[in-house]
Symmetry: C2
DNA sequence: AGCCGTCGTCTCACGCCGTGAAGTAAGCCG
DNA sequence: CGGCTTACTTCACGGCGTGAGACGACGGCT
C-alpha cells in the first residue's frame, strides 16, 4: 500500500517523460503533434517535455514532413547513440555478451565457451566480466554511457530486495546445479554498472514482445520450447512475475497425472512430452549428445514418413495444444507466441496440429480471442532480451541517466 | 498507450484521496498521523485530504487515543452510512439481492427462487429488478445514495466498451444456456443505478481476498470448487482479467490428456475429476437431483470406510493437488485459497492429501513461497463479493459519488 | 512576386498540487 | 500553573499541465 509510485507534482513530469520516450521508442519517429494525440498530453506539455528531452540529448529531430498547406511537422526520434546497453546470455554451452545502442543495433559481441567447469557459478561470472570488459574496450565505450547490464540465466531468479544495487539477486538453477547462487553479489564485485538479472526464457519472451511476434499485444504468453519448456507471461503490457518472480513455469504443468516421469522428479509434466530432451530420448534413433541434431533427425524421419516419428510428433502437437489450451483458459491472452529453438524448428510442422488440439481443449470464448503464432526472432535473441531489462528501466524512469559518479574506483 | 490514467495535477489529488480512503477502509480507524506514515503523504497533505473527505461526509472522526505526554490522536474511519451497495448473486436455483452499507453490514436481503423459466435471461432480469426495488423500498434507501449494483453470474462476462454505462456487458453462460446475453442492456432498461457484472466465482474470490482467507496477499489464487471448478486470480493486488475478462478458467485445465470427458465437451479437464457434479455422478450411490446431499453422502461413506468412496476422494485430492501445483507453477502466488461449497465441504478431509500431492507436483521454489488454505467465508459470500464491485470503483475514484441527476426520470 | 489560409509549434497566465517549516492545539508531568 | 511532548494546521514555495493566443513556415492562389 505504500507510496503509490509518486505523490508529488514532479512525478507527473517523470511520468510524462516516460510516456513520450516510450512513444518515440516503440512507434518510430513521431512529430510533436502526433505525440500529443498519442499520449493525451496537451500541445504545450509536449513542447515542454520534448524540449527537456532534446536538451538532455535523449531525443533528436530528424527531418520534417509536409502537411498539406500548413507548417511541416518536425519528426523526433530517440537518439540512438546517447547511451548503450549490455545483454548477456548465459547458455548451456557458452556465455554471450553483446553491446547494443539504444536503437538495438549490435555494436559488438563476444562468445565465450564454457569450459568443463561449466556449471561452476564463479567460472560463469569470470566469463561474463571478461566479455563485458572486452566489448566495452573494443568499442571504446565509456562506462558512464552504459545504462546497465542485463543477464539472462537458466533457472528461477529471486530478485531480492529492490533498489539494493542488484546485490540481493539470487539464482536457483536446478537444471545447471545452481542452488541459491548469489549472482548479484558475485557480479557486483567485478563491475559498478547497474545490474539486471532474469530467467533467459523470460528475456527471450520480452524480446519477442517488444520487437518480434508479440508486438502490440497487451496480454500475451510467449511459450518457449527448447530442451525444456517455459513461458513468459505478459499481463497488461508488463511481465507478470508473481510473488517471488517465478511465474510462468509452464513446463511443469501437469497434462497427464500419473504419466511420464519428468526430469524435475514429478510425473506427467508437459515438458516430459514436448521438450526436446524428452522427444529425442524417446525417439532413440539419434546420435546422443547433440540434442539439436537429434531433433532435426526426428523431424526428417517424420517428413520421410517414419510412422514412429510421425506418431511422436503428432503426440507432441496434441500435448502442446493441450498445454496452450491451459494457457488460454487461465490467462486469456490475445496472443500466444511459440518460440524457443525447438519450438521454431518444429513449429511449421506442428502448428496445424497444435491449433486443432487447442481448439478442442480450450474454452470457445477465450480461444476465439487468442491468436497462436510462431516467434519471429530466433533463440539468439536472449541477449537482446536481456538488454531490454536496463532499457525498460531507462524508459520507465523517463530517461533518467543513472548517477554513477562512484564508477571511478570500481572500474568496469 | 493512451492516457496513462491521469496527466494533470488534479489527478494527484484523486489518487491521494483514493489512497487515504483505501487505508481507512481496509485498516480500520487510523489517526491522521498513522495515515501519513502508511500512505507516504506529508502531514500537510493528509490534513488537506482528510479535510476534504470529512467535508464530503465520506469519513468521520471516532474518538481519540492518548499518546504518552502529547496531544491525543483523533481517529478517523469511513462513514459507514454515507452510501450503500447492492450485491446480487444469480445462482442456479435462486437470485439473491442484498443491500449493504459501506461497512458491509447487510441491511436487507431478498431471495427469489427461479421458476421453471429459470434459464431464461428475461426471467432472471425481472427477479433482479424486483429484488432490487424491494430491498431499496424496505430500507427507505434513496437511489442516489446507492453507489451501484454488483451482479455475480455464472459464465464468462464480457465487459464490453468501458464507460458505456454497463450497456455493453454481455454474458456467455454455457452452463445455464446463456449465449451472448446482453445483461447490461437488459438491466439498464429497468434501473438507472451504476451496473457492475462479473462471474460469480470471481466475486466470491474478491470477497475472500478483501475480507476472508486471502486478506493481505498481493498475489493469490482463489480456487473455487463447486458443481464446476473455477478460479479467481489476484495479481499484484488486483483481479487479473486477461484480454477479454475470462482469465482464471481453471476448471478446464487439462490434467489428463485423453482422460474423462467433461461437460464442456473436451477430455481430461480438472473439473471432470474434482467437480461436485462429476464426483457425485461417479459415486452413483446417491439420490439424484440434489448434488449437495450426494456429495455429503459420498463424504459420509468415506468417513465410514467405504473403499470406493475413499478411493474416489483420494483421487480427487490427487487431481486437486496437481491442479493447484499448476496454479503455483504458473502464477507463483503467495497464497492459494480453496473455496466454493464443495471445496469447503471436502476441504477438511482432502487438505492433507491435496498438500501432499501439490508438494510432489509443484516446483520446489514457488511451492515454498505458497500457502494453501481453506476459504473462510462460505458460498453465500457471492452477493457480498458482488457488492465489492461498485465499492472497488468507489474507492479507486477517491470517493467520487457518481453523478446521477438523471435518476428522477428512470426510477430505481 | 506577393498575399493568404493552414497548420505545427511555442509562450504564458492560471489554477492546482504536495512539501516542509513554522505555528497552534491539546493533552501529560511536575 | 508552566513546561514538555505530541498531533495537527497553516502557509509560502516550486512545480505541473492546460488552454488560449502568438508565432513560424509552408502551399496555393492571384
Amino acid at each position: 500500500m505504500h507510496g503509490r509510485g509518486g505523490n508529488t507534482v514532479r512525478d507527473l513530469r517523470t511520468g510524462s517523460r516516460a510516456t513520450v520516450l516510450r512513444g518515440l521508442y516503440f512507434d518510430g519517429p513521431l512529430s510533436r503533434q502526433e505525440l500529443g494525440a498519442r499520449t493525451g498530453l496537451s500541445a504545450g506539455s509536449v513542447s515542454n517535455v520534448t524540449g527537456e528531452l532534446l536538451a538532455d540529448g535523449l531525443i533528436e529531430e530528424c527531418g520534417s514532413v509536409g502537411s498539406d498547406g500548413g507548417r511541416p511537422r518536425t519528426m523526433l526520434r530517440v537518439a540512438a547513440g546517447r547511451a548503450r546497453l549490455v545483454g548477456v546470455d548465459v547458455g548451456e554451452t557458452q556465455v554471450r555478451v553483446a553491446l547494443f545502442d539504444l536503437a538495438r543495433t549490435e555494436l559488438a559481441a563476444r562468445d565465450l565457451p564454457l569450459s568443463d567447469r561449466g556449471r561452476d557459478a564463479g567460472h560463469v561470472v569470470e566469463l561474463i566480466l571478461a566479455g563485458l570488459a572486452d566489448v566495452l574496450e573494443r568499442t571504446g565505450t565509456a562506462p558512464e554511457t552504459v545504462l546497465g547490464v542485463g543477464v539472462g540465466v537458466p533457472g528461477i531468479v529471486d530478485q531480492g530486495a529492490p533498489g539494493a544495487d542488484g546485490r540481493g539477486i539470487v539464482v536457483h538453477g536446478q537444471a545447471v546445479g545452481w542452488d541459491a547462487v548469489p549472482l548479484g553479489r558475485l557480479l557486483r564485485a567485478g563491475t559498478a554498472l547497474p545490474l539486471f538479472v532474469d530467467n533467459g526464457a523470460k528475456t527471450l519472451g520480452q524480446a519477442e514482445m517488444w520487437f518480434g511476434a508479440g508486438r502490440g499485444a497487451r496480454h500475451a504468453v510467449v511459450a518457449l520450447v527448447g530442451s525444456g519448456v517455459g513461458a513468459c507471461v505478459i499481463a497488461d503490457g508488463a511481465r507478470y512475475r508473481g510473488a517471488s518472480s517465478s511465474a510462468g513455469e509452464w513446463g511443469h504443468t501437469k497434462v497427464h497425472v500419473g504419466g511420464r516421469r519428468c526430469r524435475c522428479g514429478a510425473r506427467g509434466c508437459l515438458e516430459a512430452y514436448v521438450g526436446a530432451e524428452a522427444l529425442v530420448e524417446r525417439w532413440g534413433a539419434a546420435p546422443p549428445g547433440d540434442e539439436k541434431a537429434g531433433l532435426a533427425a526426428l523431424l526428417a524421419a517424420a517428413e520421410a514418413g517414419d510412422p514412429a516419428a510421425v506418431g511422436l510428433l503428432d503426440e507432441a502437437a496434441e500435448y502442446l495444444g493441450a498445454g496452450i489450451a491451459d494457457l488460454v483458459n487461465l490467462f486469456n491472452p490475445e496472443r500466444i507466441v511459440i518460440g524457443g529453438w525447438a519450438g521454431l524448428l518444429l513449429g511449421p510442422r506442428l502448428l496445424p496440429g497444435i491449433r486443432a488440439a487447442a481448439t478442442g481443449y480450450a474454452l470457445r470464448f477465450p480461444y476465439e480471442h487468442a491468436l497462436i503464432v510462431l516467434g519471429s526472432l530466433g533463440p539468439e535473441a536472449v541477449a537482446l532480451g536481456a538488454a531490454t531489462l536496463p532499457l525498460s528501466d531507462f524508459l520507465d524512469s523517463g530517461g533518467r541517466l543513472p548517477d554513477r559518479s562512484h564508477l571511478t574506483d570500481a572500474g568496469a
